[in-house]
Amino acid sequence: MDEGGKTTRSDIRGGVGWVAFGLVILVEALRMDRFTSMGATVYTMPGFVPGMIGVVIMALGLILALRSWRRLKTLSSPAEFGDLAQPVINGRIGFTILLTLVYAGGLIGRIPFWLATAVFVGAFTWLFAPPEQSVQRRLTHCVLAGVLTSAVVSVVFQEIFLVRLP
């Protein structure tokens, strides 16, 4: 069980979200073709299992929300049930997500793989290098890391593992 009231509020929101998600699945399952003209019974209809999954997700989401709501009521002061949990995302995570999305979602497939990889690895190494490091040292590290990673990954995948690169 989670400790204290750290995630109580986010669990209520999460529970409501799961109920909504389950409802969407259920509605979509009910809208699926039933193939009755081909002799399908209720058990062989494409929406049968997804519909059941939707119902189960709704039920579990409801239990999660109700449990968290009950816990919230037992907490005495607002400070106790404030969102005390560590934020899921911070600046480092934000920049990591940004760089990885730009690389895998934008650069790969649009510019040569070796260039995309060198740019990504170089930029990542530069951005997350220790701040006390001198600019010259940081630049050397980022160029070396980018070029070496790009070359080694390209050669190893294409020549040894015989894998086509994006």
Partner: protein
Amino acid sequence: MFDGLISFWQSIVHFSTPEVIFYALLSSLVGVVMGALPGLTATMSLALMTTLTIKLPHDQALLILVCTYVGAIYGGSRSAILLNIPGTPASAASCLDGYALARQGLAGRAMGIATSGSVLGTLIGMFFLAGFTPVLGNMALKFGAYEFFWLALFGVIIAGTLTGDDPLKGWIAGVAGLFIAGIGQEPQYAYERFSYGVRDLAGGIQLVPALVGAFGFAELLTAMKERQAPVKISPFDTVIPRLGDITKYWRTILRSGLIGTGVGIVPGVGEDVAAWSSYAAAKRASKEKELYGKGSIEGLMAAETGDNACVPGAMIPVLTLAIPGSAPAAVLMAAMIIHGVKPGPLIMVESPQFVYDIVAMMLFATIGILIYGLVLTKALVQVLRVPQHFIVPIIFVLCAVGSFAISGRLFDVYVMLVFGLAGFFLRGFGYPMAPLVLGVVLGDLLEKNLRRALLLSDGDLTPFFTRPISAVVAAMIFGTVGWKIWTITRSKKP
């Protein structure tokens, strides 16, 4: 008995070529290194290696994966002992006494204990893998759609119950995994579900890019949350295991090996539970309970024997039932399917030699970790000093290229990104990833067998509860869920 030994020997001979031995040693090394690096788990290592070995012949590819698996579980102990950071979740129990021993200046001895425990644990597990698989395989031939439906559900429920802090969130993750498995064309009428006209979704979500995202990308994001502090590695002397430690604690080794293998057989549980269960059992039976947590050799031995014995144990349900015993075993099972091997009840009929091939692969992996444990530890621990900002981008490049390599589609890279981000945020809110993966892996098995069973019984639910094995598994599922829901609804603890 003798047929099994002969088959095992034939497998060893088959793999005893310089090329294969090189692959075995190299992949064990990769496993040890990846396992030792905090943030890189066995599941992630296997998912990445699956993509790298996609073009190799199936026996060589699976040998590499098995050696990586065993190596990674063992490798986690290095950082647990030297840094007090478990390299993989399986090594968390080893931190308690391993790091305490290191602080007493006994890091080398602790690593020797980890090596001997891991080697003996794997050997005990291998013994049961070779002995139990044919028996269980023959039993599984009698299983019908009802039993397979319950077993698939059991895997998801048990993984949800045991792998996270909150069973409710574990079940939600597992059921979400079942939903993901249902995306794309359904098996009976080829009707496209939840694909909304996206052509790439019609074939469903490929398992490996999803796993690389959920375990690779998501773990990298988690590792990046905080800036890595400069690594201070405890100095250590000899890492050669002492015979006295093994003979003195032989009961603990045997017990932990049995517990680890047993936990491995239970679908969806995994190495971390095996390590903690072995540790707890050893502490209960110990004459030196007061040393536990303060540098107990017995405690470290129990944890390391238990988690490595779980690896062969987790392969038993994979081979006989096509139901993975742990998250890394789920990846291994996916790799088997990609390489054209069909795990499941028919394996002892169609390719009985394959079971002994897996046992032989485990033996090669064990030799690999023994060699690295004895002679390369000082060199290997240097990898722990490599700064995070060099390792993370390289691993992410491998995640992206590996996802693309499976089918040569950029769509799979996007799948990896989506699963990575979703996995990271879900994990941040306390939803474990192992049940989700089990759900994705077992979704197809569950749906096919549920629909088949209902067709056979014409909608009658009675056979689900009256067939002996079905009744037992159903009782276990309802008992677990009922009891947990009762405790959840009764609990007012904030």
